[in-house]
């Protein structure tokens, strides 16, 4: 057990306690997010957002949100509430992973709430493409971690929040088909708290690099 702060002696018990705490936190956050759901944008805002999405965002994220560059996350089929929350976090400069600072703080700086809602709706409506299949052994190991977590290390099952199919919920992001490299970078940023999300920090803290890679490889391969 690498988390020296845990006071519980038995590693499996410690893992279970931590998992329960994380899931509890996630449930509270999930219901809080659901209360603040975005309103449906009007037709003009929708059209404007579509143009912005294709001609501005699309240069990195792909015109329909299926980016080919692993540096830039795939947004097609992403959950609207999650997208809107991220855009607002970029705008308020509260999401602090390196590419958020270098790219998205600027891009989101002057977005208004209506445009954010319309952009989020645009991407949520796009058809996601699944990524390439990497190493099959990594995918198999990744699925195991995704579905069941690593009890001994206090890593909860990813599926408990992100869904068995990794399509997420209204408030938790879709991960299926996401670039392996992007997922890895985010897990690293959660771990280091550069991207400051308490729940994911707790999840990522005890994940070793090969475990992260396996999960990321699995997610990229999912439809």
């Amino acid at each position: 057990m690498r988390n020296s702060e845990m006071k519980v002696d038995h590693p499996v018990t410690a893992g279970l306690v931590k998992t329960v705490l994380i899931l509890l936190g996630a449930t509270v956050l999930g219901s809080a997010g659901a209360a603040a759901r975005a309103e449906e944008p009007d037709a003009a805002t929708k059209m404007h957002a579509q143009k912005v999405a294709v001609t501005v965002c699309g240069t990195c994220h792909g015109p329909q949100g299926n980016s080919t560059q692993p540096k830039f996350p795939r947004l097609a089929g992403q959950n609207a509430n999650y997208l809107a929350a991220q855009l607002k976090a970029f705008r308020s400069q509260s999401r602090g992973d390196p590419d958020a600072i270098g790219y998205m703080w600027g891009m989101a700086a002057e977005l208004d709430d209506d445009t954010i809602a319309a952009l989020a709706a645009y991407y949520a409506a796009q058809k996601p493409e699944s990524g390439p299949h990497a190493d099959q052994a990594a995918i198999t190991r990744g699925r195991e971690i995704y579905d069941h977590g690593i009890t001994a290390e206090g890593v909860p099952a990813c599926s408990s929040c992100h869904g068995a199919d990794a399509h997420g919920t209204q408030d938790y992001p879709r991960l299926a088909g996401q670039h392996e490299q992007y997922v890895l970078k985010q897990l690293g940023s959660f771990q280091s708290n550069m991207r400051n999300v308490a729940i994911m920090h707790g999840v990522a803290l005890n994940l070793r690099s090969p475990e992260m890679q396996s999960v990321a490889a699995y997610l990229q391969s999912q439809p």
């Binding site: 294709v54 240069t59 015109p63 080919t68 560059q69 692993p70 540096k71 600072i101 270098g102 891009m107």
Partner: protein, 481 residues
């Protein structure tokens, strides 16, 4: 800031155009933090390392430098038409280049005619160049890249690379973006999106205190800041690019003897374009994962009256010199977080029909040809430390009048800037290492090695100077804010 074709022709009597090209093509190199202020994005969005563009940077340029993520001062009509959209941050930047140049062998000292001596070797440029930019949005679909430069060779401030753009993007029925625009610029290829073409190609910076080869093609910087061009372009799906346009002489610092004003141009001006010079460009770019590959063609045709200079006027009538340039370019980029790799190159072929110069004795042949090839490979680690190795070659038909064996300076022939055999051939290598302590500060050490210079490897000037005597160390501190 490059010397103009006119200045050079005063040194090289009759023709000057061809001799001018490489001299005129003193490197132009810019990095513009005002874009970063306007977009709120880091340099790496648009550049691998400045001034080389990424895909995003190319799209930003095609869209007219207008992407703005800062608060605006606005005015609108009742129908929500934008009348005004001014960024609250003025898109100004400054750039400085401080350099030191050391040639392998110094050149003759011409200050004391008849007395043998050599010029001091080791030239400090402080600054070599100091520029002020307005680079960014002007109005909702109108942007500018506008540069004023003080250069230590002229000792004056003058207009440098300028590219004014109107651009917009529309969505086609299949949801693919089509960008269309107009560029008003003063240097053929300064408006181009890829760092393969002459205005923005490698070397991105070079010394202005060295011996430059005699020959260069016309599109290779010969008309930089000496023309006005209007081009229209389409950029479909951020991949297929097509552009056509035309250039016309727009002389700087030339005064009409009759009106005392900037025009109309008369026979005291040199290398004046007859009518319009057509310019064209097609390119295709494909991007996948961290990779980007581009291949393209570009070209122009320049028809020039040789003209003259004050005191040696020649009327702007009669036969012309025609330069038809056709070029290919390719580029591969790998842009990752850790590693950045670029391999790029261009090949320019020029056909000259020198009716005017041949008639006046300015060229020994009625027709000549000239080809320039440049290829280079760049690697950077974390945009922090890296380097480039490049090969360059200019070859063409020999012409003893165009590339003369003697030059009359200070009452004698010092050699150095001549070609004993009338050949324009120059070949060599450039290698440089760069360190960027911050993304807007670059420290470079560059070495240029010539295998051949103005037609020969050894004794190219007939007075014992070898090509390698012109090898150059160039140290540069280059920053922009």
């Amino acid at each position: 800031m490059g010397r103009t074709i006119g200045e050079v022709s005063r040194n090289f009597s009759a023709l000057g155009v061809l001799a001018a090209a490489l001299l005129a093509a003193a490197p132009e190199a810019e990095a513009v933090p005002s874009f970063a202020r306007q977009t709120g994005m880091a340099c790496e969005a648009c550049h691998t390392v400045y001034p080389e563009l990424t895909h995003f940077g190319r799209v930003f340029k095609a869209n007219g430098y207008i992407l703005s993520n800062v608060k605006q001062v606005r005015d609108v009509t009742g129908k929500k038409e934008e009348l005004l959209s001014l960024a609250q941050t003025v898109p100004l930047s400054i750039m400085a280049q401080v350099s030191y140049t050391q040639m392998k062998t110094s050149v003759p000292d011409l200050s004391a005619a008849g007395a043998p001596g050599v010029a001091q070797n080791g030239t400090a440029g402080f600054p070599q160049q100091l520029s002020l930019f307005y680079a960014g949005k002007i109005a909702p679909n109108f942007g500018a890249f506008f540069q004023l430069t003080y250069a230590n060779d002229s000792g004056t401030i003058g207009i440098d690379n300028t590219d004014l753009r109107f651009a917009d993007t529309t969505l086609l029925s299949n949801n693919s973006p089509l960008t269309y625009g107009i560029s008003l610029n003063n240097n053929p290829t300064v408006q181009d999106l890829w760092n393969t073409t002459p205005a923005w190609g490698f070397p991105f910076a070079a010394s202005n205190a060295v011996v430059s080869p005699l020959a260069g093609t016309a599109i290779d910087g010969a008309f930089a800041q000496d023309v006005a061009g209007l081009t229209g372009y389409l950029f479909w799906n951020e991949s297929l690019y097509a552009e056509v346009g035309a250039y016309r002489s727009a002389k700087q610092g030339v005064t009409s003897e009759l009106t005392g004003g900037a025009g109309p141009l008369d026979g005291s001006a040199s290398n004046v374009m007859s009518g319009l010079a057509p310019y064209w460009r097609v390119a295709y770019e494909y991007n996948w994962a961290q990779h980007s590959i581009e291949a393209g063609l570009y070209g122009a045709e320049f028809r020039l009256y040789p003209g003259g200079a004050p005191g040696a006027e020649a009327p702007l009538t009669g036969p012309l010199n025609r330069f038809n340039d056709v070029a290919e370019d390719v580029q591969y980029q790998y842009v990752g977080d850790e590693h950045q790799v670029t391999v790029a190159g261009t090949h320019i072929h020029e056909s000259m029909t020198l009716d005017a110069s041949f008639a006046s004795g300015g060229s020994a042949n009625p027709k000549n040809n000239l080809s320039t090839t440049r290829v280079w490979a760049t690697y950077y680690y974390r945009r922090k430390i890296g380097g480039t190795v490049g090969y360059f070659s200019t070859t063409g038909s020999a012409d003893t009048a165009l590339y003369p064996a003697t030059v009359s300076l200070a009452g004698g022939n010092p050699g150095v800037v001549v070609s004993a055999n009338g050949s324009p051939d120059t070949k060599g290598w450039i290698a440089e290492v760069n360190y960027l302590p911050w993304l807007n500060v670059k420290i470079s050490a560059q070495y240029t090695a010539y295998n051949k210079f103005n037609g020969a490897g050894s004794n190219y000037d007939g007075l014992g100077r070898n090509a390698s005597d012109n090898n150059t160390w160039y140290l540069l501190l280059w920053f922009a804010y």
